[in-house]
Symmetry: C2
Subunit: 139 residues, 2 copies
Amino acid sequence: MVRRALEAAGCRFTVQRAAVFHYLEQVQTHPTAEDVYRAVRRKLPRISLATVYKALEALVDAHLATKLTNGDGSARYDCRGDDHYHLRDVESGEIRDLPVEFDPDLLKKLDPKLIERLSGSGFEVTGYRLEVLGRFSNS
Amino acid sequence: MVRRALEAAGCRFTVQRAAVFHYLEQVQTHPTAEDVYRAVRRKLPRISLATVYKALEALVDAHLATKLTNGDGSARYDCRGDDHYHLRDVESGEIRDLPVEFDPDLLKKLDPKLIERLSGSGFEVTGYRLEVLGRFSNS
DNA sequence: ATTCTTGCAAAAGATTTGCAAACAA
DNA sequence: TTGTTTGCAAATCTTTTGCAAGAAT
C-alpha cells in the first residue's frame, strides 16, 4: 500500500520511507520533522534528519501524507487520507484531528454562489481548510 | 489611531511602524515581511529588515495586524481588524480576503454541541480559521 | 533623563542541497 | 546496470537577537 503509492508517484520504496510512514500512521498528534526524526531513530539509528525531510516530501508527493503549516516556520505532518478538520493549540502549535464529520458543502452554506462567483473573478476553488483554534488545557 | 493602538499595547509610535502599517493598509494582497521591506524602503531607504520584523510584531501586539502562516515557512500579514476568511493560492502562496461575511456561528452549524464537547475533552475554543484553497488564474 | 527603538551584523531554527557511497529496480 | 536514495556536512532561507547609537516620551 505504501509501496504502491510511492511507486505511483515515481518514488522508490525504502525502509526509511516506510518507517516514517508507519510512525505517522500510529502517532496521535501531528509531529514536526524533528519529532519524526527522534522517533524513527529508535528503529533506524543511522537515519539522518535530511532523509526524514526527503521521506516526508516523498510521502506528500505520493498522497500518503499532508504537510500542515505551522505558525513558527516549522511544519507538521498528517497521514490521514480523508478530508478532515484540525484543532490547533495557539500557544504550543500542537495539532490534533477534530472529531467532526467533514462537510464537503460547507462553502455553499456560507454562500450558495461562492464558488461560481470566485471562479468568475479568476479564482479556481480546489478545496478549503478549517481549523478550530484554542488551547489544550492538559499538555 | 495607529499611535493610540501602539500606545495601548505599550509600544511607541515611530515613523517606521507607521510606514509599515500604512503599506499593509493599502496593499491588496497580504505581503511577506520581505515584500513589506522592499515596499517601505521606497519611503524610508535606511529601514532595515529587522526593523520591519519588529514593526510587524508591534502591530500584531497592538492588534493592528494579524500574522498569517504560510506554507513555506514564511509569514504574511493582514491589517484588517475584523474577522474574515481568506483565499489562498496553493501554488504561489498568495493570500487575499474572501468577500463573504464572517459567520461567528459556523462551528455550531458543523455541530451544535461542538464547543461544549471540546471543552469537556480539554480544549478551550477561542476561534476558528477558514481558508478557501485554489488558484488565481491571473497573477 | 529615561526607556524604547533602530540599524547593523551575527545567530538561530527549519529546511534544502551537493556529493559520493549504498541501495532498489 | 541504471537511476534513486541515503547520510553527511555545508548552504540557504526566514526570523530573531545583541548591542551601541538615536529617537520618543
